[in-house]
Subunit: 380 residues, 2 copies
């Protein structure tokens, strides 16, 4: 089996990830609940993982690293927790439904307003739109770091300069970039970074979170048991407890911690370079096949390891089925929860697109097999 | 090490649970995302687990079993999703902060009102209060199935009769009872059952959910990617997707599924009887030790496997520390996120209580060691 659906979830993880989960399941109590050895072990692993994530993303405060069960929850927390009723938000047509639906809800239920940065024919944001869309009511820019459809990376430095000039919060969806490309929150000027653990970070499903810049106040999302300040009627005001209620997924977090060690030891630059090389090999292999249309900007120096394409006259789901059944290649067809970008590219009318997404555990042989399969399907 | 903090999280799990998690991590894609084998494997495991939970709790619709990352999230969803602004709710002083804080928020932010059922000296709810507290604005009763401090079980049949007579929703916190005592939603008349996976169900941390009776409408909580209906601006209306956004913790759910198999094969009655026997052995062993005060009702036929106590003149945290350091016994001191019950029992003034909580993997020898340790500490 050739797994090329890593933008949905990385399936091959470093072996130490599962080992760490098993160790955690056999040795951990409930983090922040009690002072016996097992509970303290859990607390320590959870805190160490905050530190590792803070280092990876250059978030100055490890206690401002908040765990969630996925990136979607992180984005819901950031959007609902930062915006007041009536706030206007600038966002882009590149966004995933994990950004769009919380924003639509803000619009529908809290009198919010939204402005959408358009994209060009290659799916790149039209950066001038960011500035042009800002109104006196604008509170935040909510923006993906990279499109989950095309792999195009958004120039966050440019976006954050605009955000800063207007006193806006910059909330970033790093679902596609965390663990895939270097992210420096300080350098990029990101206020809230939302990430998932099970994609580029190669941790278990059920992990993710937010890194919050010091001074950014997000209202609590779920509230409940905190293990501290139990006589208070409200969630504790301090991060991370402010945004974490109930038992954490310490077992998953232990796995994520091991994955972060792997990334640090291997080197994120090396991982990114390897994935990039495979992505370009795939792109070079398929771009000139007659009947194949590839989406996205491959002239950019930096992009994530995605190649999205369509075959003339073929529905994307049919291509994916052929790839799966005849070639044992796993890819993702359809809408990728990115409705506005598909509409902008016109691929909504073609049943979406076929997305190949690569991890550092893929090989050149697998990429070549994928190219051959696309060529054969295109020739039929 | 003698682990007697199973009401916080069960640490010893059936070995097949961790094995299932590892298998899942090595073979699963993203559930409901794509149609290749790995994604379908994840979808199947997730759906099978819904079916198993529906069977365990007698929830008639497996598609009304919704996964969350913990019981707290389930309770937040149920409470925020069921109540309209201004609704009055009847609840009890037995509740955990995972119920109390969402209700306090409803009161503070949405004009809600709350009535609290009191308890007697043994921590049993005063059932007459349920009826007496109902007002024309009452919409729901939110009630724990068992106190996480005393182990007392609430007579849900009696509560649900009152709820039904007044047309109220019955939302139940089964954090302490799921997997510990049999639960039949239909027979008990429960509308929404909130459970966690990592306690009595012996699954991994990061799992939990709600079982929703057909016809009960809960508004979406987090919204985002659903893998289906991607062009809709709102979360799909159908359960379970209505309440699930983003990537599920399929790895954890696979472990929970294995735990559910273990429970079914072993027999929940047998598990409950074994835990009950150990709980009574512990109670019998400590009840007459001079200086020991035990909380809760041990005359009831059914209770969870908890023994909470204090030693005269000893802070509960100090007792727990002694038990941990000198005897290697893990228990939970303090407030247990149950502030109102501690206040009702007067234990808030004693620094809480020392809670021993038992799982089916504990042994008589461990219980006897705990009794000896309590005796020695009481004699000092």
């Amino acid at each position: 089996m050739i797994y090329l659906d890593n933008a949905a979830t990385t399936m091959k993880k470093p072996p130490q990830v599962a080992q760490a989960v098993v160790r955690a399941m056999n040795s951990m109590g409930n983090a922040s609940r009690g002072a016996h050895r097992e509970a303290l072990t859990a607390s320590r692993v959870v805190y160490d993982t905050r530190v590792k994530l803070a280092q990876l993303f250059n978030c100055r405060r490890p206690d401002h690293v908040v765990f969630t069960c996925n990136s979607t929850e992180a984005l819901n927390i950031a959007i609902a927790g930062a915006l007041d009723p009536g706030d206007h938000v600038v966002t882009t047509v590149l966004e995933h439904n994990s950004v769009l639906r919380p924003l639509y809800r803000h619009e529908a239920e809290r009198g919010g307003a939204l402005g959408f940065v358009r994209c060009d024919a290659l799916g790149r944001p039209i950066y001038e739109d960011f500035e042009a869309l800002i109104t006196p009511r604008t509170r935040a820019i909510v923006c993906t770091h990279a499109s989950n459809l095309t792999g195009n990376i958004v120039d966050l430095r440019r976006v954050s300069r605009i955000a800063k000039a207007h006193g806006l919060l910059l909330i970033v969806d790093a679902s596609q970039t965390a663990g895939a490309v270097p992210i420096d929150m300080e350098e990029l000027g990101v206020d809230v970074l939302c990430f998932t653990g099970h994609k580029g970070l190669m941790g278990p499903q059920g992990t993710g979170g937010l890194c919050i810049r010091e001074g950014v106040e997000l209202r609590p999302w779920k509230v409940g048991g905190s293990g501290v300040q139990s006589y208070s009627r409200t969630q504790p005001a301090e991060y991370p407890t402010r945004l974490e209620a109930g038992t954490l997924n310490s077992h998953g977090i232990a796995g994520l911690s091991a994955a972060l060690d792997y990334i640090r030891e291997t080197g994120l630059d090396r991982i990114a370079a390897g994935e990039s090389s495979l992505m370009r090999r795939l792109y070079e292999g398929v771009r000139d096949i007659p009947g194949v249309t590839v989406y996205g900007d491959f002239t950019a120096a930096e992009r994530t390891a995605i190649v999205a394409l369509n075959l003339d006259g073929y529905d994307s789901a049919a291509v994916a089925d052929e790839l799966s059944e005849r070639y044992d290649i796993a890819v993702r067809p359809g809408a990728h929860c990115a409705p506005l970008l598909h509409k902008a590219l016109g691929t909504d009318l073609l049943g979406g697109a076929v997305r190949f997404s690569i991890s550092c555990f893929n090989t050149e042989e697998e990429i070549d097999a994928a190219v051959r399969a696309v060529r054969e399907l295109a020739e039929e």
